[in-house]
């Protein structure tokens, strides 16, 4: 089989699984998850075959696996869709296939498969737990199975389909299709527990916020299509098209078309990857079940945004002279670096274990965007790959923590929030698997030197920033890295180290193997995923493993990006911020007694409050966008436009019609039509009444009448007609 044929098949199993679960097996929880996991396993195996073939093929950059189909005619040409596997796709496919599969497996445990039905669980609400009685007659509260278990797997499968479509697409239109399918699934899954008002609000917020980016992205695609006449990668990234784009002046802003298209596409990423100023939806998206947070908001969907800008890097960087970044790249560097730092500062003051991770995701995505902005193409792709492993790991780990503590809550009956880190503590002994894997993920996120994947990818971004002499970006990113290490250690310390701050945390238990196995798998990748990217000239350990990522992913671009030479300064910065942040985080939070406030609350004062409230962005947007929208829709649209103008017009028409009908009735229908009908009836009646006296029933009178008529006729005939 041709490799490209196999690539076509990659998205198919999850789609089939989605329809089979929705239509046929939705009553059987076991069948549903077998279908979901089976489908993703098939896609996983296919992806790994593709990855293997791709690495063996050697010149994938110049000669990608591709095949096209004619989709619909556009004038005298066809719009073509197809698959396209170049080194960037291979790298993305690798982490997407793995994370999707492990998240499916993890979901089985997280949604409490094998547990009894809840006492009063309802669809649309998280399971509340069930009461079981053991053989001694003791009653226990245990977790109960998710009521909409099958639906969950169906949505996850559809989501996986969207991601595979996006990754293997050969053009930006089918990429956009996959992008929007994921947007829909994100909405459905964030609002999975739809009976919770907060989940509903979060789902709507996520959908509308990303929609802002998507619309602008679609405009970018439309503009690109009008200029290039195609959206296929091989056409739009060709020399001629890029030259055309840079030499065309856009009708607005007085810049080249390449800049406008680049910025518009980038704005799609801003929405999808939750960059400032559209970052507000991602933290709220934590309302969904934790596997969803891991899948959508760490490994796949938000990565898709970064994947897009890496993919269209030729357009973004079109017109670059002698390493001078383009306007698009400058904007990206500014937004990316700003988001990186901005989200990191918020994460410092969050107490919800998942929200910290959400802000750290925003921050890390900002890193990647900034890396693209300074032209560090390979570094951005590399960080994308590694980040998705350790961030999925961290999210799944946090889900495992929540699960374990919920066990404790069932035991103690306390009324506490299992996601609030100030309620946790001391879980190291209770949940060893979760602790060690979470630790590995956390260290990878903070860039713990030499061992973890995060160090190598983050270090490469810093090294790139240094090599391009982009000091503001370097400083901002370094500071963000310091904060990242700090809040990660804060999270680990508060959650796992020290003493338990509540009874429930004291009684937490380790999760089942379906949840810990994915953690272990991801932990392995959180370490080794960085090794293929160790720079060749790194002191001592460089060169043992060839710098595979740079060689391989760099091939995607027409011009092979040059390898940056090793320099001690970014390495030292990277070491200092990660170790310093980790140490500081541990030192500040090592001993927090139960009920104590955050130790930063006092020294930081109002700044802490500002961070705690996320710079009041939600409130700001509420004032700027939400309330005016409500006002406009109520006062203008509803009361004025709808009730007054449209309703008034309709009422007027109805009144006119009504009176017109009255006129017709009184002057036409009643006198003329009815009158004629009545007249006919009355006349017939009158004639009958006046003629009926001749019907005597006496046969002889009839005979007389017949005789008279006969004689009359005869006389008439003889005297008037037959005159000669």
């Amino acid at each position: 089989m041709e490799p490209s044929t196999l690539v076509w098949l990659l998205p198919v199993p999850p789609l089939l699984a989605f329809f089979l679960i929705i239509l046929l097996t939705n009553r059987s929880k076991t069948l549903s998850h077998i279908l979901g996991i089976g489908a993703t396993s098939l896609s996983f195996i296919g992806s790994m075959v593709i990855v293997f073939l791709a690495i063996r093929s050697g010149h994938l950059g110049e000669d990608p696996f591709t095949s096209v189909l004619n989709w619909f005619p556009t004038g005298d040409t066809w719009f073509q869709i197809g698959v396209w596997v170049d080194p960037l796709t291979v790298g993305t496919l690798f982490f997407v296939a793995i994370t999707i599969l492990v998240i499916f497996i993890y979901s089985v445990g997280y949604q409490n498969f094998g547990q009894p039905k809840g006492d009063h669980d309802q669809p649309g609400l998280p399971p509340h737990g069930a009461t079981i009685e053991d053989e001694l007659g003791h009653k226990h509260r245990v977790p109960s199975i998710e009521p909409m278990y099958s639906r969950f797997f169906a949505f996850l499968s559809l989501f996986a389909f969207g991601m595979y479509v996006l990754v293997v697409s050969s053009n930006l239109l089918t990429l956009f299709v996959g992008w929007e399918i994921m947007g829909l699934c994100s909405y459905l899954l964030i609002g999975f527990w739809y009976a919770k008002p907060s989940a509903r609000a979060a789902a709507i917020k996520a959908f509308l916020t990303t929609r802002v980016g998507d619309v602008i992205m679609l405009l970018g695609l439309a503009y690109l299509y009008t200029l290039a006449g195609s959206l296929s990668y091989d056409v739009i990234f060709s020399e001629e098209t890029l030259h055309l784009l840079t030499s065309t002046n856009a009708p607005i802003f007085g810049v080249s078309a390449a800049v406008v298209i680049g910025l518009f596409l980038f704005f799609g990423t801003v929405g999808k990857s939750a960059q400032f100023p559209l970052h507000v939806w991602l933290p709220d998206a934590m309302e969904g079940p934790t596997p969803v947070s891991a899948m959508i908001h760490a490994a796949t969907m938000v990565s898709a945004g970064v994947y897009l800008v890496i993919r269209v890097f030729p357009i973004i960087s079109a017109g670059m002279h002698h390493g001078e970044p383009t306007l698009t790249m400058n904007v990206m560097a500014i937004i990316g670096a700003f988001t990186g730092l901005f989200a990191a500062t918020i994460a410092v003051a969050q107490n919800d274990i998942k929200r910290v991770l959400a802000y750290s995701t925003i921050s890390q995505l900002g890193y990647m965007i900034a890396a693209i902005g300074i032209g560090a193409y390979v570094a951005a792709a590399f960080h994308l790959f590694t980040h998705s492993f350790f961030k999925a790991l961290l999210f799944l780990g946090s889900g495992s923590v929540i699960h374990g503590v919920e066990h404790g809550i069932f035991h103690t009956g306390e009324d506490i929030d299992p996601q609030d880190m100030l309620n946790l503590g001391g879980l190291r002994k209770k949940m060893p698997f979760t602790f060690w894997t979470f630790l590995i993920g956390g260290l990878a996120l903070s860039g713990f030197p030499f061992l973890t994947a995060g160090f190598w990818s983050k270090d490469e971004i810093l090294a790139d920033a240094f090599a391009h002499a982009n000091w503001p970006v370097l400083i901002v990113l370094a500071f963000a890295a310091l904060l990242t290490a700090f809040y990660t250690m804060r999270q680990i310390t508060l959650t796992f180290l020290g003493k338990s701050r509540t009874e429930s945390a004291e009684h937490a238990v380790e999760s089942k193997w379906t949840m810990t196995l994915p953690l272990v798998l991801l932990a392995v990748f959180a370490i080794v995923a960085g090794w293929p990217g160790i720079p060749g000239d790194f002191p001592l350990i460089g060169g043992f493993i060839p710098n595979f990522v740079h060689e391989f992913v760099g091939e995607t671009l027409a011009e092979h990006p040059e390898t940056i030479t090793f320099n001690w300064i970014p390495l030292l910065i990277s070491l200092a911020v990660s170790l310093g942040g980790l140490a500081l985080g541990w030192w500040v939070y090592r001993d927090i007694p139960a009920g104590a406030p955050d130790p930063l609350e006092k020294p930081l004062g109002p700044i802490y409050k500002l961070l705690k409230n996320k710079y009041y962005f939600d409130e700001l947007y509420d004032y700027i966008f939400v309330r005016p929208s409500y006002w406009v829709s109520r006062t203008f649209t509803y009361l004025w436009l709808d009730r007054k103008i449209i309703d008034g017009f309709l009422h007027l028409i109805s009144r006119i019609t009504f009176s017109l009908g009255g006129i017709f009735r009184n002057y036409i229908d009643k006198p003329i039509i009815n009158g004629f009908g009545d007249f006919v009836g009355e006349s017939v009646k009158w004639i009958g009444r006046s003629g009926r006296f001749i019907q005597t029933g006496l046969v002889q009178q009839y005979m007389v009448m017949a005789l008279i008529i006969a004689f009359g006729t005869l006389f008439y005939y003889l005297f008037f007609l037959s005159q000669p």
């Binding site: 009926r692 019907q695 005597t696 006496l698 046969v699 002889q700 007389v704």
Partner: protein
Amino acid sequence: MISLSYFLVFAAALFCIGLYGVLARKNAIAILMGIELMLNAVVINLIAFWRFRSPEMIAGQAFGVIVFAVAAAEVAVGLALFIAIFRRRNTIAADEIDLLKW
């Protein structure tokens, strides 16, 4: 030889007698008898015209025979009806049989 007009006058007289019987008698059987007279007058007319106008054709005689046959059948039906009426109403006076009216 007796001319045609004698026959026609005789037939007209016979027709008028029959007509008078039909209109003036109350008894339904008498009415039927009147009808037979009228019918016979017509047959005499027919035969007379045949004899004086085209004696070489057999059609006139044949017509006469068929009219007799039909008249006999008609009388049979009529009498049957009167018997039926008589059984029901115990009368066959024509002015009492006046149900067929408004």
